[in-house]
């Protein structure tokens, strides 16, 4: 599979280094290795969701209970979660680290991903969510660490887009 195992491991290790103890996730192609890493880690609480918005609730509960959490989802999962993000995470000042696979952007071959790809950045902007793109493996660790620091300090959602450059390897 051309999804990068090496870079998935890099992202997972960066989440661990940022103190993440709870991951809620809904799978998609680009996230398979990341979710498997969480599943194989006995120290990680992995919650496999039926629908992404649940993950906002799980993350909020974990935060109030004193554990750092992250969400793993496709950009369509972000679109699915918008009400929870606004009316729980933002309304209640919850630090919510979201790792979002950046489907439908440059290089996307699947027609069904392209409309969501066009909506992702405008929706994040409209919500006032600070967003960064993970593209270079060399800077993944520091970007994840900084995103977590900002989420915790601002008590707000922060989005990291998992880009094609990082997640996909030429076969």
């Amino acid at each position: 599979m051309p999804v990068s195992e090496r870079n998935s491991k890099l992202v997972y290790d960066a989440l661990l280094a940022a103190g993440v103890e709870v991951i809620s996730a809904l799978p998609e192609t680009w996230l398979v290795h990341l979710i498997r890493l969480a599943d194989d880690d006995p120290g990680m609480i992995l919650v496999r969701l039926a629908k992404e918005e649940e993950g906002v609730g799980v993350s909020a509960g974990a935060h109030l209970a004193g554990r750092r959490a992250a969400m793993l989802m496709q950009n369509h999962g972000l679109l699915q979660s918008v009400n929870g993000i606004v009316s729980l995470a933002q309304l209640y000042h919850i630090p919510l680290l979201m790792l979002i696979s950046d489907r439908g952007h440059l290089g996307e071959p699947d027609p069904w991903q392209t409309q969501g790809g066009k909506a992702t950045r405008p929706v994040l902007d409209a919500l006032g969510i600070v967003t960064d793109e993970l593209t270079d493996p060399a800077s993944v660790h520091v970007q994840v660490a900084r995103a977590m620091t900002l989420a915790q300090a601002s008590l707000s959602p922060v989005a990291l887009l998992l880009t094609r450059e990082l997640m996909w390897e030429a076969a």
Partner: protein, 186 residues
Amino acid sequence: MKRIDCLAAIYDQLTECAVVTIMGAVAVELYSLGHRPNFFYLEHAMGLASSMGLGIALSQPDRKVVVIDGDGSVLMNLGGLTTLARYAPPNLTQIVFDNESLLSVGGFPTATGTGTDLAGIARAAGIPGARTVTGQDEFTAAAKAAIDADELACVVAKVEAVGPASFHMDLHLLENRFEFQRALRS
């Protein structure tokens, strides 16, 4: 059966629990019985009270978590029942007050009024002990047993569609949020 009487019947048992309620009549009525720092009233995000309860229960396995839900909210997050069942934290109890209506926004009927069986859905989702209760004594016994039990439990209580005269609570949602966090982390 009235929701306020049900809440009064289990109020003393909630002292040591993390309690997450939905907004509206459920929140106001529990608040009216006497607020405690371990009570969190989710004033929006319908459907996510149970997901929050799951996050708390998995994060703090030694603390009992009681989610006080409603039919309208559960109907907005039916998939969440399957997630609860999948992880089945033994320290989580979900109580659903089913008045067959969206009372706080004018009383519009929900699907439970035309036959949808939430306890049946919960059982089919994988919470085998989920049950519906219709009488006060039956509720009190079932809810107390559920909170005492060392397993995921779901009690659906059929209640009248009546609520408080006012929905005002003298507690800002952020004040509630930070005191609840402090209570959970202490």
